[in-house]
């Protein structure tokens, strides 16, 4: 019940609980002097283990620029996250170029340009109407200007929108990114798994960014998405400013989900 209140997906919660039950039996919780505490301990450990991923760092391409594509549902925080990633890379000495292939949302490209300026990083601002062509030209621009990272912000889209999912697949095909990051809202409910799974099926996600964690949503969607897709959660969005991106901490997330 608590897991469901925390927005953990119904099936994920059931699977999780049966794992805990197995371990509890194996661990002989009942023989412990403090069975309640012991059980909570097991739950916490299992949660952390599930949330942890093998590669939580950003991968680097052998051949610069390393290209990252951000994708996800409408309003999840992609454009803002693009700025934050730019900031993070700049702070560690890289030279990122931000680019937006969102030709759908009003003033989307202006938004990224403004965000890039705030993060003090470069933005590809050439005009363009075709996302695939824009993406290709950005890669070229990154190479020409010696940028070692290219961050591609894409339009929000529904995973059931065939046309837009194909558009995303074509952008990915064209720029061959090293990382494809799914940007998901931490306050998402049961449906988070469905959308993440479909995005993963279409473009093979390499990482997840969980945004708006500065709110008080328990964030159970994190557990669901991570365990069902197997994709590691790499970053946590903790606010609206360029510096508000943190590495993802599985132990903190576990405590939060448990409330």
């Amino acid at each position: 019940m608590a897991l469901l209140e925390a927005d953990v997906n119904v099936q994920v919660a059931q699977q999780f609980l049966s794992r805990v039950r197995e371990r509890a039996i194996g661990d002989e919780v009942l023989k412990s002097l403090t069975p309640g505490q012991h059980l909570v301990g097991i739950v916490r450990e299992e949660l952390e283990a599930l949330l942890k991923g093998p590669d939580q760092k950003l991968k680097i391409s052998a051949m610069p620029p390393t290209t990252l594509v951000l994708c996800g549902l409408q309003g999840s925080g992609k454009t803002t996250t693009a700025g934050k990633l730019g900031w993070l890379l700049k702070e560690r000495g890289n030279l990122p170029l931000l680019t937006s292939v969102d030709v759908h949302r009003p003033a989307a490209r202006e938004q990224l340009a403004t965000v890039a300026r705030a993060a003090q990083v470069r933005c590809f601002e050439e005009a363009g109407e075709d996302p695939v062509d824009l993406a290709a030209r950005s890669v070229y621009a990154a190479r020409q200007t010696g940028c070692d990272f290219l961050i591609v912000d894409s339009a929000g889209r529904l995973q059931i929108d065939q046309k837009l999912m194909e558009e995303l697949a074509r952008v990915v095909e064209r720029v061959q990114p090293t990382e494809i990051l799914y940007v998901a809202d931490a306050m998402s409910g049961q449906d988070a798994v469905r959308s993440a799974l479909e995005f993963h099926r279409r473009v093979n996600l390499t990482g997840i960014v969980l945004t708006k964690l500065d709110g008080d949503a328990r964030g159970g969607a994190a557990l669901s998405v991570r365990s069902i897709t197997g994709v590691p959660i790499k970053f946590a969005g903790m606010g609206e400013r360029p510096e508000d991106l943190e590495p993802f901490y599985p132990d903190r997330m576990a405590s939060r989900i448990l409330g």
């Binding site: 019940m1 927005d7 549902l73 925080g77 759908h104 949302r105 306050m187 409910g189 049961q190 008080d216």
Partner: protein, 279 residues
């Protein structure tokens, strides 16, 4: 001695799964299942469609139990609508859609760009104002939102508008200073027009989980929410948290966003909504 459960346990399990997956939430789902199980001993619910009828009835009852808000007698002929909500829910898009709808109905109105904070927020709503064929009141970037709001109310009165739609910046309900800023915006409107804002619409993303109830609670407290807009219902999420919000806070669902185009806003229809959950 209680009578036999009048509904087959397997059928109830199926209903429970659907309600949970639609974000109705565990507590409210349990309540619904419980009332289905016990409400009329003696009659047997034999099949899925019969059970669905009962569930539909139960859900519609929850959604319409909210007393329809008495239309505040609009003293100046101007209806002021304030859009609020957490980040990324669809406020700006909804503002544009609503303005377009009312303009199409022959009403005269204004949009107010009260999000003076977020990158390209004014540029975004400017495009929507153009699409709606409605003028936009805007200030320089970084201006005090209360100042733009004040100016927009003045302008709407001066131009004898029928409506003024104010789009505010997204804010997490946990950020006290931002919630106080919103409270101030409401006060500024009220000082100028005592019965305003006539509508305060909370725009909620249909993908929102149980945190949606807490969001609604806070926005009700600081901004006096009068109605809910459930956006992005064209996706696969069902926005079941709207039921909890109706039940616990008495906020009625009024509009549904079904896409990113200017026409993609429909009046809330309980039958269509519940059908969407069970198809």
């Amino acid at each position: 001695v209680q009578g036999p459960a009048r509904v087959d346990a397997d059928l109830l399990d199926r209903v429970e799964a659907i309600l949970l997956l639609s974000d109705v939430g565990p507590a409210l789902t349990a309540e619904v299942i419980h009332s289905l199980r016990r409400s009329a001993p003696g009659t047997q619910v034999k099949n899925w469609s019969e059970l669905l009828e009962l569930v539909r009835g139960e859900m519609k009852r929850i959604l319409s139990a909210v007393p329809p808000r008495p239309k505040a007698s609009v003293t100046s002929g101007l209806e002021v609508v304030l859009l609020v909500g957490v980040n990324g829910g669809g406020k700006t898009t909804t503002a544009g859609k609503l303005a377009a709808r009312w303009a199409r109905e022959g009403k005269r109105g204004l949009l107010c760009a009260a999000d003076t904070f977020r990158a390209a927020a004014v540029e975004q709503i400017a495009v929507w104002a153009q699409r709606a064929g409605v003028d936009l009141i805007r200030h320089q970037g970084g201006a005090d939102p209360s100042a733009v709001v004040f100016d927009s109310v003045d302008a709407a009165l001066a131009r004898h508008c029928d409506f003024l739609i104010i789009d505010t910046a997204g804010r997490l309900h946990t950020r006290e200073p931002l919630m106080h800023e919103l409270e101030k915006v409401v006060r500024v409107i009220r000082k100028r027009i005592p019965r305003a804002p006539h509508q305060v619409l909370l725009v909620l993303d249909a993908t929102t989980g149980q945190n949606g109830v807490e969001q609604a609670r806070r926005f009700l407290q600081f901004a006096g929410v009068t109605g809910l807009v459930l956006s992005k219902l064209d996706g696969t999420a069902r926005g079941g948290v709207a039921l909890g919000i109706a039940k616990e806070l008495g906020i009625s669902l009024q509009w549904v966003g079904v896409g990113e185009g200017v026409e993609d806003l429909v009046e809330f229809d309980p039958d269509a909504y519940v059908d969407g959950i069970f198809e």
